[in-house]
């Protein structure tokens, strides 16, 4: 059973302080989410490293959080 969107958002924001997080419940059933995460800290990192930062923020909750979670990361624009 995946975690709820608010929990997901708060964990990511706690792990990546400047993150702008937007969570979408893909089918509206709480099973599949897309998390759009924008952070200046992603600047200069590969996509793999950006996603690893998000996973790190979810540490301890990975089992529930990861399955069915799609990530889309970006460093944002001026």
């Amino acid at each position: 059973m995946p975690m709820d969107a608010a929990m997901l958002e708060s964990l990511i924001k706690t792990g990546i302080l400047d993150a702008d997080v937007h969570i979408e419940d893909i089918r509206g059933d709480g099973e599949y989410y897309v998390a759009y995460v924008v952070s200046r800290q992603f600047s200069g990192l590969t996509r793999i490293q950006q996603h690893q930062m998000v996973y790190k923020a979810l540490e301890g909750h990975l089992e529930e959080a990861v399955y069915g979670l799609q990530l889309s990361t970006s460093e944002g624009q001026d």
């Binding site: 793999i48 996603h51 690893q52 996973y55 990975l62 889309s72």
Partner: protein
């Protein structure tokens, strides 16, 4: 024991140009995310080695430790971790995956 698994992974991704660690096989994927990556690779007509992590619990955990990545599928090209389903799909949509494979001489 754990080292053996990591050694085996290292060997598999060194000896094979394109390796996909997935749930199920390319012919019978057991998970939609794995199936999506298979579909991308097949649409590019890329020859790849599929390895079913469900067939071996130590591998299922080992591949997560190896890449510091919490889930499968995981795609490797010429020994390097490329990404999971999201990244592969994003790269494919942007034409980056095609470029990477072409640079490595893996596109027909």
């Amino acid at each position: 024991m754990q080292n053996e698994v990591l050694d085996r992974i290292r060997q598999d991704i060194t000896e094979n140009d394109v390796v996909l660690y997935m749930k199920g096989s390319a012919a019978f994927p057991q998970c939609g995310f794995s199936a999506a990556v298979v579909q991308v690779l097949e649409s590019l007509d890329v020859k790849f080695t599929d390895i079913d992590v469900l067939s071996d619990p130590s591998l299922r955990q080992g591949i997560k430790d190896f890449a510091n990545w919490p889930s499968t599928p995981q795609l490797y090209v010429k020994g390097e971790f490329v990404g999971g389903c999201d990244i592969v799909r994003e790269m494919y949509a942007a034409g980056e995956l095609q470029k990477l494979l072409a640079e490595k001489g893996l596109l027909k």
